[in-house]
Structures are given as C-alpha cells and as structure tokens.
C-alpha cells in the first residue's frame, strides 16, 4: 500500500507516481493489489499495412501512366490521323473500379452472402459504365450482367446449403437478386440484347429461385420482411 502526502490518499497497486498529482509515493507497492491487467498496445495489423502499400502503388501507377501518356507520342502508328489517345484514362478508370469494388467489401470479409450481393451490383454498374463509354457494343447486357446474376443466385444457394446458413442470413439477398433477375425477360422482349441465351438462363433461374423461396421459405421470408421493414 502506497501513500501520497500531497493528495493525502492511499494508492493501491504498483504505480511509480501518484495517479492524481504525479508526485512521489511512500510505502510498499504490492502487485496483487492491481485490479487492471496490463494490456500491451495492439500491433499495427498486417491488413492495414498491406492496404497502405497497395494504395501507395495505385497512386504511383496512376501518376506515372499519365506522365508517360503525355511524354510519349500520342496516337499509334497504324492510324496516325485518329487524334490523341488518352490511354492513361483507362488505366485510372480501371484502378478506380478495382478500388470501388474492394472498398465495398471492406470490413465484412466473413459475410460471404453480403459480399456476393454487394459485388454483384457494383460490378454490374461498373461493367455497364465501361461498355457505355467504350462505344456501347452491349457486351455487358448480352453476356456479363445476365451471367453475373445467374452465377450469384447459384453461388448463394450453394453457399447457403454447404455452410448450413440460417434462413435470415441469406434470404433477403437471394430474394432481391431473384426479383431483379426477372427483368432479364424485358431485355429479350424489347430486343435490347441480340444474343438471348444468357438472359434466358438468368430469367429461368430467377423463376426457379423465387418459386423455391415462396414454396419452401415463404413463411420465413415474410417474417424476415416484417422485421426488416418494421416502422
């Protein structure tokens, strides 16, 4: 037991100075009187350090590619009269897309259904944008987006089954993806897509998935909706 003559208080434990006035303590310190364990400072996490390096690399690559773009002669030799080619823009857009997709899943690595759900939407929108700004040849609608939606539904169903997930942990994600997938029929009806097979598969899967949800998990889906939407 220690004593601080300035504060006139007894001090328990093993501090070297008075916790109140940082003054000298008299008496014998006793370790068994400590009521708080010493918790060492947390080491900087590996993930954090890795992230810092990648972020640094991204900025460096972006700046260097812009510099090279301007330093080297514009355009290419095959069609010299097509004007300057700002290829560095694609590098930056590509890096930005990667980061956007990465940041969306940041901090929830263990929630696989949620990652599938979020990535599906982020990648779909990015793919659509890329297609649109590179001449809109509709490869995004023809192939990528219907295939992504089909794969997501299958992946969610398989994952939920294998990992024996609780219904409320994936039902909303699967439900929303399936409902949106129905719209792939519109792509076919209004001749938005020229190659109909991926969209057709997507539509078929969505109907099967919705039928499954309604017939087997209808009650759970209703309860989950009621919970999530309570006012």
């Amino acid at each position: 037991m220690l004593y601080c003559h300035k504060c006139k208080v007894t001090v328990l434990g093993t501090p070297r100075r008075c916790p109140l006035c940082q003054g000298d303590l008299k008496g014998g310190a006793a370790d068994e009187e400590n009521v708080f364990p010493v918790i060492p400072p947390l080491p900087a996490s590996l993930k954090r350090r890795l992230l810092t390096f990648i972020a640094f690399g991204t900025i460096a690559v972006a700046v260097i590619s812009v510099a090279l773009n301007f330093a080297l002669p514009f355009g290419n030799s095959t069609n010299a009269d097509s004007g300057p080619v700002f290829w560095s823009f694609f590098v930056i857009a590509g890096l930005a897309s990667l980061w956007l997709s990465f940041l969306v899943i940041n901090n929830q690595w263990w929630n696989i259904p949620k990652i599938i759900f979020l990535q599906l939407f982020v990648i779909s929108i990015l793919v659509l944008l890329w297609d649109f700004f590179t001449g809109f040849r509709r490869w995004s609608l023809d192939f990528v987006i219907p295939i992504l939606f089909s794969c997501s539904m299958i992946a969610l169903a398989v994952f939920a089954n294998v990992r024996k997930l609780k219904v409320q942990d994936y039902i909303m994600f699967l439900g929303i993806i399936s409902v949106i997938s129905i719209f792939s029929l519109l792509l076919i009806i209004f001749h938005v897509v020229t190659i109909i097979y991926p969209a057709m598969i997507c539509f078929t899967l969505s109907i099967i998935s919705l039928a499954f949800l309604w017939l087997f998990e209808g009650k759970s889906l209703g309860e989950e909706l009621r919970r999530r939407m309570h006012l």
Binding site: C4, C7, V9, T10, G13, R17, L20, V35, F36, N107
Partner: protein, 433 residues
C-alpha cells in the same frame, strides 16, 4: 425451425448504434470485487444459469430498412480472463456478436455491456444474479442454499419489456411545454476539458474508495444529498482548470436519472432520462459565484427543479412522441443515421462532464462477507464519474480518455481535505504515456 424472436430498440437505445465510435464505444463496465480469486469454471456456470433468466441479453443488433432491431441469437458467451482495455468496442455494425461480455481478473468479475442493451441499473440486476449463482456454488457448504435474491420475482418476459413503451400513451402526447430558462433546455457550447488523449482511444480509470457513511455525513453537513454534494465537488474541480476565456462558457454536468424510481417497472432494459445541471462561472472573479456554497445552492435548486416526476414524465412523453411521429418513422435508416449522429453530437457539445449515481447495491446477507465492493464506469469523451456503494464502501470511478488528471486530482483532494480517507486504484500508469 424458424422461431427467431426479435424486438424493437427502446427509445433511449435508438441513439446508441449510430453514435457509437472507436473513441466513444458506449460500453460500460460493472465489476464486483470478491475477497478471493475468481474461479473461471464456476463463473461460466453462474453466467449460463443467469442467462436463462435474462434471455434478452442474448440479443444482437441488426439493421432493418427503417430502424435497427434486436434479434435473438444462439451465441454462447464464454468467460475469459480480462484481455482487452476497459470499455473496448462491443458493437460492430458488420459483425454479429453479443452485446455484453463477462471477463475476470484476479478477484474481479467484470460485466461489460453495450448501452443499447441496458442501462446501469438493468445491468446491475444481471451482474448481481451472476454473482449470486457464483457464490452459491463456490461456497456451497458455507452459504445456505435457500438464500434468495430479494427482487427475483419478475418473470423473464417482464424483464425483457420495453418500459418506455409501457409508459407511453398517445393522448398524453401533448406534453406541457417545458418552462424556459430551465437548464434542461439547450445550453450551447458548454466548457470542455481539452488536452492530449490516451493512445488507441483507451480509457483512463481512477477509482476512489471511501467510506459511504463518512461522505454521507459530510454531505448532510451541507444539507445536501450525496449526488448534490459530489456534483458540486465536480463543478469546483472543473472550474479550477478553467482559463478566463473558458469561464465565459457555462459548465454543464449531465446526470442520468433512473426512471424506475419514478415509474415502477421490473424491466432490465434501458429506462433512464438525463438532466443537465449548469453553472456559470463567468462572474466568479467579481463575486463569490465560484465558491463551494454558491455552487451547491445552484446545484440543489437545479436538482429540485429538474427531478420533479411530472417534469420527467413530460420529457419522457416529448421524446417518445418524437419517435412515434409517423413522418420520422418512414424515413429510411440510411437517412436517419446521420440525423441521429448529429443529434448525439449536439447533445455532447452541451456537456462538460457526467455523473451517474447507481446508488446502494444490496446482496443477500449471507453473501456479504465474500464481496469487497461493486464498481461501475463508462466509456466517455470527457470526464465522467460513476458512483455506487456496497455496504460501507462507496466507489467513485473517474473515467476519462484524457491524459491530464487535473480534474481527478482536484476532485479527490477535495474529499481527502474533508478528512475523508480515500483509497486510489487506477490503470493510468500502464497506458503507455
């Protein structure tokens, strides 16, 4: 089987998830110090048994479209030796984990709990039950097995009920307007203690143990209650570190009020309100505005005015009608979060310090010889005092994220200068400053 029970967040809890951050985790710790070292196995048994009576503590928080909600989980809590700093984060929006944790260190049993789940008085019921089962088994031969907790007749369902909801009636929604000038209305920009903070947003805790009877006697000498007396000491301690410029700002101490004292309920969920007691030190130089007696007079008047049951009831209805307003209900959570966060930030700007008095804690008489003290403290952004007493030991826990211990020194020196014997124990020596 799909029989998941769920529940809404109560009125007070709604503010916590949006305003939780690394620097203010909204976690508080209730500890019980025994005379003998804690046995982990018995503690685990006690926790499992107590949890059967408090099923609500198994809840986790999830995000809905309009509000957060509690969802029952089947996560089994495991007691551990204390392994992280006091009041470290428990709630993470992306993780599904329980909102409380039981740890032990030497002779102490610690219950850390996220504030959305319960307030101090509710958590105390849980901790007492755990300690009760722990001692009953640990000292099976010595303690009569017919020893009962005095207040154990509430059902699980009663304990899990939202007491705010019980006392809300729509026809009484037209609350009387609060009189102007009362210090529970907005005080813009109260004085804040500034300074360096502990690394890693850790919390510095300085506990003072004093004789409850001696402090009470001292308070009675001033014709004040314990809360009034210690609030005044805190006011004066805060004023000591103030510059002349600081004195232009009012000092406001936030005091949580346990509504169970005014509106009876067996609920162990949140059921509290807060009052803000303000003192203006700006005229202290010219008059005796800053003297102990002057502050005490102000504090006593404020307590009397703010703690009237009808006043607390009005405030309750006011807050509840806000929550029940349809226009607010239908805003998606995504938009509510920044608004709630802003409201919490505004409320914080009006606070200089906090003082919570949990009051006297009782245990069955046969168990008293095994328990040294109870203690509570809470995560906070500024200085925050929590009081509770067990038998004759009053524990005053001073928690603060600030490295400076000026306010604490002044506070405890005031007590020791009143010829009170103060015993200090803290974690601040090992916080790496």
């Amino acid at each position: 089987m799909y029989a998941v029970k769920w529940s809404r967040l109560d009125n007070a809890a709604k503010i916590f998830p949006p305003s939780t951050s690394k620097t203010d985790t909204k976690v508080f710790r209730f500890s019980c110090e025994l005379y003998a070292a804690v046995d982990a196995e018995t503690l685990q048994y006690a926790l499992n048994t107590a949890l059967e009576q408090f099923p609500f503590y198994r809840m986790i928080i999830r995000r809905g479209f309009f509000w957060y909600y509690f969802e029952k989980s089947d996560i089994q809590p495991v007691v551990r030796e204390e392994y992280k700093p006091p009041c470290a984060p428990l709630y993470d929006v992306n993780r599904k984990n329980l909102l409380f944790e039981i740890t032990w260190y030497r002779k102490r049993i610690n219950l850390e709990i996220y504030h959305a789940l319960s307030d101090g008085v509710g958590a105390l019921q849980f901790l007492r039950t755990i300690v009760y089962y722990y001692l009953l088994r640990k000292h099976a031969g010595e303690i009569d097995e017919n020893t009962r907790m005095d207040d154990n007749n509430a059902s699980d369902e009663q304990r899990s009920r939202d007491a705010f909801d019980t006392y809300y009636a729509r026809d009484k929604g037209k609350a009387h307007k609060l009189p102007k000038g009362a210090s529970d209305t907005n005080v813009s920009g109260a004085y804040h203690v500034r300074g360096e903070r502990f690394p890693e947003s850790r919390l510095g805790v300085i506990e003072g143990h004093v004789s409850a009877a001696a402090v009470l006697q001292k308070a009675h000498e001033y014709h004040a209650t314990l809360s009034e007396f210690l609030t005044t000491v805190l006011f004066c301690s805060l004023s000591e570190g103030m510059t002349i410029r600081d004195r232009e700002r009012p000092v406001t101490i936030t005091i949580p009020v346990d509504l169970r004292k005014y509106f009876s309920t067996p609920s162990t969920r949140n059921f509290f309100s807060v009052i803000n007691v303000t003192h203006d030190f700006s005229a202290a130089g010219s008059s005796n505005q800053g003297s102990f007696d002057a502050v005490l007079t102000g504090v006593k008047a404020a307590f009397k005015a703010l703690l009237k049951p009808e006043k607390l009831h009005d405030r309750l209805i006011q807050l509840l009608s806000l929550e029940h307003a349809f226009a607010i209900k239908v805003v998606p959570l995504f938009f509510k979060v920044p608004v709630l966060r802003n409201a919490a930030w505004k409320a914080e700007k009006e606070q200089s310090a906090g003082l919570s008095n949990i009051g006297k804690i009782t245990m069955p008489e046969a168990m008293v010889p095994y328990i040294r003290l109870f203690n509570i403290f809470s995560s906070t952004r500024g200085p925050h005092i929590c009081l509770c007493s067990f038998e004759d030991t009053l524990v005053i826990s001073f928690a603060s994220p600030l490295v400076s211990s000026d306010v604490q020194r002044s506070f405890f020196r005031t007590l020791s200068n009143c010829a009170l014997e103060v015993e200090i124990v803290s974690n601040t020596a090992d916080l790496g400053v």
